[in-house]
């Protein structure tokens, strides 16, 4: 059948990739453009918008808030993800499907539902909104991603390696420190990077659950209303894009290294 032939599909794939990258490519174009109007034709090259970011104090506050939220979320969700991934990869226990299902639920639940539900509960309990309530929501949506990454790291971990360590007289902690941790560490770092990136970009939950302190996406949302601010938003977006992509490349490289290392180690153990 013709339309499933490699040639047509390859052309389609290229068009599709262009569609996927269309907005992403425009971001740096307008960030370096002299005109304040976000439209073609481009008028000239400038780094003015990037320089302007250096002097915007509200932006720096938002960035600081986002770093705090992102780092806390990354740490907590990776920790919670590690427990759950370990439990589901290694043990059989009653109610496993239900429990794991509930933990993974935020993957398919619309963010507005999570945000609204948390907002209602916090209001009822009389708890004030702050950056920490945002962290609470972000941990919820990031944990499933951490579990997905860490599960594959644990699955590659040969059970016999740990048992061998026990047999050789290592304590539980010693085994964890000297056998388990080195093998899953790349997965853990990869999870930290991914969850940090998700938190850094998350808008809906942050929008509903933050008090007076804004995170970076909430700041961007407030800026989108002012046409004069748009070029600096483009510049900010460009920086965020570069940072996200670098973090992702690092996460991917670590994940692969982890897989390779486990492959090598398991073969050596089998000798």
């Amino acid at each position: 059948m013709k339309w499933l032939s490699g040639k047509w599909l390859a052309i389609y794939a290229v068009v599709y990739i262009i569609f996927l990258y269309a907005p992403v490519i425009l971001l740096p174009l307008f960030a370096f453009n002299t005109s304040t109007i976000i439209a073609f034709p481009l008028s000239g090259f400038t780094t003015e918008w990037f320089m302007g970011l250096w002097y915007t104090d509200t932006l720096h506050t938002a960035l600081g808030n986002s770093m705090l939220v992102g780092l806390s979320t990354a740490f907590l969700s990776t920790l919670l993800g590690a427990f759950a991934a370990r439990a589901s990869a290694r043990f059989a226990f009653p109610g496993k499907t239900g429990i794991v299902g509930l933990i993974m639920l935020p993957l398919v639940l619309p963010e507005i539902i999570i945000a609204v539900a948390l907002l209602v509960m916090l209001n009822q309990l009389g708890m004030p909104l702050s950056l920490w309530t945002v962290v609470g929501g972000h941990v919820l949506i990031c944990t499933p991603f951490a579990i997905a990454i860490l599960s594959s790291a644990y699955r590659g971990l040969d059970r016999e390696l740990e048992e061998a360590s026990f047999d050789l007289g290592e304590s539980r902690w010693g085994t964890f420190r000297r056998v388990t941790l080195p093998l899953v560490l790349p997965g853990v770092i990869s999870s930290l990077l991914i969850t940090f990136t998700i938190s850094l970009d998350e808008f809906i939950i942050a929008f509903f659950l933050t008090g007076t302190d804004v995170t970076l996406p909430v700041y961007i949302w407030s800026q989108l209303r002012f046409p004069a601010k748009l070029p600096s938003v483009m510049a900010l977006g460009t920086i965020l894009l570069v940072v996200s992509v670098l973090l992702l490349i690092a996460a991917e490289a670590l994940r692969r290294r982890s897989a390779a290392r486990q492959g090598i180690d398991t073969t050596l153990a089998g000798v």
Binding site: L4, A10, Y12, Y21, L27, F93, L102, P110, I114, R256
Partner: protein
């Protein structure tokens, strides 16, 4: 202390000790206990931060709010209003319609890419997958905003078409309406549709396809009788992963949807914000989740029926 291995013990001895390792004798309930103990921190977190709030929002939707005071007597009034008022009916229908269109478009566009990656790309599959996921990691707000720039009256798309001489007047049917919402969301959810379908296609045993050809199936027949049914779990997963969150999006309708593109989530946000009627907002949220939940179950069952099995 476990039966100790002497340093430099010959490999045969080592194997012998491994085979009667004590861990094999672990009783099931001890393992179950360990598993439950290990998953309990995450489970408790989800109970407190997800299950409890969801239950609370459901309870809340049966209460009423009068400016700042909450009346906790149970009533169905919010649901009567949510289901009976024309504006909410319109928004709900439109949300469902947009979500379904977005899902169909996204999955249809994603399938050939997943198929290409699985069946035609032999080297550097990981690089392709990485390329597909990169745009997803750029700020969602800015991606939506940039679609506005692309689709606008003086936007990139119109100026390109005018520059090439295809059109004289800018096209106006592509921004501030349903089309813009569909394009933007189909873009935003692309990787979520491609990945599950790709995984399902990768799992298909290639010898089954050879068998179909050997038994005289044409490529088209083979595709519809073997490949597509076996890819069905991936297609269903992709459909649900795109459909459910799309109903809850309120940024895209707000930025590119105009007045005709507003969805139920915009109304939920308004009820929790400006309109200050949180119980009604909760009723709208619960209603939309119930509706989308029922639709999801339907899709799942239909997919199961259409899906193929390898006996």
């Amino acid at each position: 202390m476990p039966r100790c291995l002497q340093r430099g013990a010959p490999p045969s001895d080592r194997n012998a000790t491994w085979q009667d390792r004590p861990i094999v004798a672990l009783r099931f309930d001890r393992e179950a206990g360990q598993g439950l103990w290990l998953i309990s921190p995450t489970f408790i977190y989800v109970l407190v931060m997800l299950a409890a709030p969801l239950l609370m929002v459901i309870t809340f939707s049966f209460w009423t709010q009068d400016y700042l005071t909450i009346d906790t007597s149970l009533t169905l009034n919010n649901y009567r209003e949510a289901w009976g008022t024309p504006i909410y009916q319109v928004l709900m229908w439109r949300s469902l319609k947009i979500s379904v269109i977005v899902t169909v478009v996204t999955v249809l566009l994603a399938f050939p890419i997943a198929y290409y990656l699985s069946f035609h790309v032999t080297r550097r599959k990981a690089l392709w997958l990485f390329l597909i996921t990169v745009p997803f990691w750029t700020s969602y707000l800015l991606r939506v905003f940039l679609w506005k720039v692309i689709l606008g009256y003086n936007g990139v798309f119109n100026s390109a078409l005018q520059g090439l001489g295809f059109i004289d007047e800018p096209l106006t049917f592509i921004l501030y309406n349903l089309n813009a919402v569909v394009i933007t969301l189909a873009h935003a959810w692309a990787p979520f549709a491609i990945l599950p379908i790709f995984v399902a296609l990768e799992k298909i045993d290639r010898s089954l396809l050879e068998a179909a050809t050997d038994l005289g199936d044409s490529p088209t027949r083979r595709f519809f009788r073997v490949t597509l049914p076996l890819a069905m779990p991936g297609i269903v997963a992709a459909t649900l992963i795109v459909l459910i969150p799309t109903v809850g999006d309120f940024i895209t309708p707000r930025l590119v949807g105009g007045t005709d593109g507003l969805m139920i989530s915009n109304m939920i946000q308004i009820q929790f914000g400006k309109a200050n009627n949180a119980p009604l907002g909760a009723a709208l949220a619960v209603s939309s989740m119930v509706v989308i939940g029922l639709i999801s179950v339907g899709i799942f069952l239909v997919g199961k029926k259409l899906g193929g099995r390898v006996r």
